[in-house]
Chain length 466, copies 2
């Protein structure tokens, strides 16, 4: 459909928000909006609920029509039977956009739900109102403090936008991004997407000058044929990560009761993602890893990786992981090997790549790393750190992490693996190491496979662009 | 080779231990042995080191020959050039077994290293001494407090034995097992394995009545043809997890400088593992996950899984993961669906499997779980828990975890996924949930894929046995 860009802009960057139908004791949606930088109004008819709302310092009206100014974004959280009436009011009032949390429509499989969805769809189409939903979490705009979950960070502006049919996955991707230090622009959860759906949101964010990277969680597209050209066009402008949910017949049964999406063959999805040059991810962790790499690393397309920081068995494992993922783990150049041979004691260490810096060679740590990093055979550099090292000596560990950070001057992409055999109990040290690296825009991964697979996705994306 | 079982028994279950060549300031090996239940002696010639050793309350001798009783297990940690002399003394003394930490032999690629290794091999072969190594960490026996790393737990007896060419991976597998609540019997790291190698240790633990499960990390076997029958025979008796390091040409280059293992085609390894009916794992996490499941779950072979505990998008994802791994996610029986239909409000929940228990249905949590668990279409039960749930209300979360634990009465295998978008910061809650489950012998996994893949490995193992 033809997008009304200014209207979507206004809905997603609201100055006034109305929450319709929020209820105590928690007043979830009004609580979510406590960080909103603009004006929040409540719309609630139920006399029992109004005192609680007013106690929060929020003005309540009996109808959205009564709000004495323009409403840019409204959350509708009323029972499904009431939703058409409330939605009609929003249309009449000229509200820019609506996030309709209410569920129980076509995805419920009930006749009543299907009928109610038709009614809402018709109104939205006729009016051109920007409708997120129904059956969704709506909008998260960290810069303006518009949230759909109370844990969501606000007060910063970023350049990654997320399009998701699932509210849970929209929340999950956002939470992972926030904890990874990836700054978000907007997150839209749009559930059944009866008017604006995947292709529309993709078009919008592809043209949005404030969006540098797009992430999508898709359960189904209404117009399959038009989606490929849209994805191609978006990918030509900026990286698009695509996670398709419902990859198996049983998974598609689950999408149908989740957002009412129809089954589509995963083979054709494979082809679409590949042809468009988008970045395919198959679960939340893959999305998180690929996004982190895209966000922090400069564009690069060389797949020869330098590896360091493991003991013998770990050197074998990291080599297997990166090689199996499709990256090259080359032997260093003869010049490097000669220089390393002069510095390193051969016993208890190996240095042809991976570099396994035995304890006897710790005194030459910086020298060894610099030879390794400057080797002409390697395009990017991965170093492993362990929480055990940190626990035994924070000073020694920090000094080694800083030696790695110092390699930024070489100009090659740097990334890390934080290897732990007990991630729950090691969390404190892991967090410290992760934060040190994050502050320097160095992404870290939880194991070799996750690192290798996500880095290769990024390399392949930039190779396709060439 | 013909194994001298009583001699190996004695080496692995020592009453006296000698540490040869330990040095200050840390005295690593003597410190490791502080938990040993028997008698520890030190052997050290260097007058500068002796006062430190004696200050630890340990008697030092100039030669192993001088120790006034039989030595069951000796750690050799001297420079490589000295090692043949020290080793010869052990042979002469009639020491039962030696863990030779000293490295720099064939794996170094140097002529001197190759020669020294030959010398040691010859002595070991001629004498029949039980040699772990060289270039290894040796023995970890938690029951007797023999350790090769100071962090290793002791004072319990278990029934899982680990055979590893890599000391790092032996330590990693042991650490993961300990943190998962899996009780270990013995862990042997044997590095270059110049006499006793993979097949020998496999034979030993296959016949060992105190070992229920065997885990192997293999870099290379010296006699490829004899290994398959050994693995078949062991697998007929007990589950054997096999992790082959050096799966790629680059990875094999790394094994060669690690334990001097020769390159072998991964295709033939695939075939060997499959034909023998062993359980193939490709990294530390896969080993940890498969071991945890084998250890805690009863034998079972039905691959139809019941899933619960996610919201809509997560239900789609868990279904995709389990289906892609090769498990079946069946729709529940009509009887169950009818019963659930009477209890559950359809809006905001789905219950055909996965069961997505919407907030409106929390009052009927136990009833819903019991119908789901008793459904004749499902063979095993997976429930997801989140640290967010725990943070918001520990009581509510614990009550739900207990409801799941309560399903043990149904008699089907139970396992869990602990879903987190921020594992480092969620660690405290994750640990609490994990511990509650572990105490009830319910294994938990960090994500759907890891759960699905490891459970399927276990099912396939028991299917092969049928």
């Amino acid at each position: 459909m033809e997008l009304n860009i200014p209207r979507i802009d206004r809905a997603l960057n609201p100055e006034t928000v109305a929450v319709i139908g929020d209820k105590g004791p928690g007043y979830t949606w009004l609580t979510n909006m406590q960080t909103f930088s603009g004006k929040v109004y409540s719309v609630q008819l139920d006399e029992k609920e109004i005192p609680g709302i007013e106690a929060m310092g929020i003005t309540n009206y009996k109808s959205v029509m009564d709000i004495p100014e323009h409403v840019d974004y409204a959350v509708i959280a009323v029972p499904r039977r009431v939703s058409p009436f409330v939605f009609r009011d929003c249309v009449t009032k000229g509200v820019s956009g609506v996030g309709m949390f209410t569920s129980g429509f076509a995805e419920s499989g009930s006749e009543e739900g299907v009928e109610l969805q038709k009614e809402i769809t018709q109104m939205a189409e006729d009016s051109g109102i920007v409708l997120l939903g129904p059956n969704c979490m709506g909008l998260y705009n960290p810069n303006l403090g518009v949230r759909f979950m109370v844990e969501q960070a606000t007060g910063y502006s970023g350049d990654v936008s997320v399009i998701s049919q699932s509210g849970g996955h929209a929340g999950g991707i956002a939470a992972m991004a926030n904890s990874n230090g990836v700054k978000l622009n907007k997150v839209v959860s749009f559930g059944n997407g009866v008017v604006l759906e995947n292709g529309d949101w993709l078009d919008y964010f592809a043209q949005d000058p404030t969006t540098r990277i797009i992430v999508m969680y898709i359960e189904g597209v209404r117009n399959g044929r038009s989606f490929l050209p849209k994805l191609k066009e978006a990918t030509a402008k900026k990286p698009v990560i695509v996670w398709k949910g419902g990859q198996t017949p049983a998974g598609q049964r689950a999408t149908s009761s989740h957002t009412g999406s129809l089954a589509e063959s995963m083979n054709s999805w494979d082809a679409v993602i590949k042809q468009a040059g988008a970045i395919r991810c198959d679960d939340l962790e893959e999305v998180s890893d690929a996004l982190k790499g895209l966000y922090f690393l400069p564009p690069f397309s060389g797949n020869r990786v330098g590896l360091a920081g493991g003991t013998g068995g770990q050197s074998v494992s990291m080599t297997d992981s990166f090689s199996k993922a499709g990256m090259e783990v080359p032997v260093l150049s003869n010049d490097s090997l000669d220089s390393l041979g002069e510095i390193m004691q051969v016993i208890g260490a190996s240095y042809n790549n991976p570099i396994d810096i035995g304890a006897v060679n710790r005194d030459h740590f910086d020298e060894i790393l610099e030879i390794w990093a400057n080797d002409p055979h390697v395009d990017s550099l991965m170093m492993q750190f362990t929480p055990g090292m940190y626990r035994r000596s924070p000073e020694a560990a920090e000094s080694q992490i800083n030696s790695f950070i110092n390699l930024k001057k070489v100009g090659k992409p740097l990334f890390a693996v934080l290897h732990s055999t007990d991630p729950y109990n090691d969390a404190e040290s892991l967090n410290i190491i992760d934060n040190m690296l994050k502050e320097e825009n160095i992404p870290s991964y939880q194991n070799y496979d996750r690192a290798a697979n996500s880095i290769l996705k990024i390399i392949n994306y930039y190779r396709n662009k060439q």
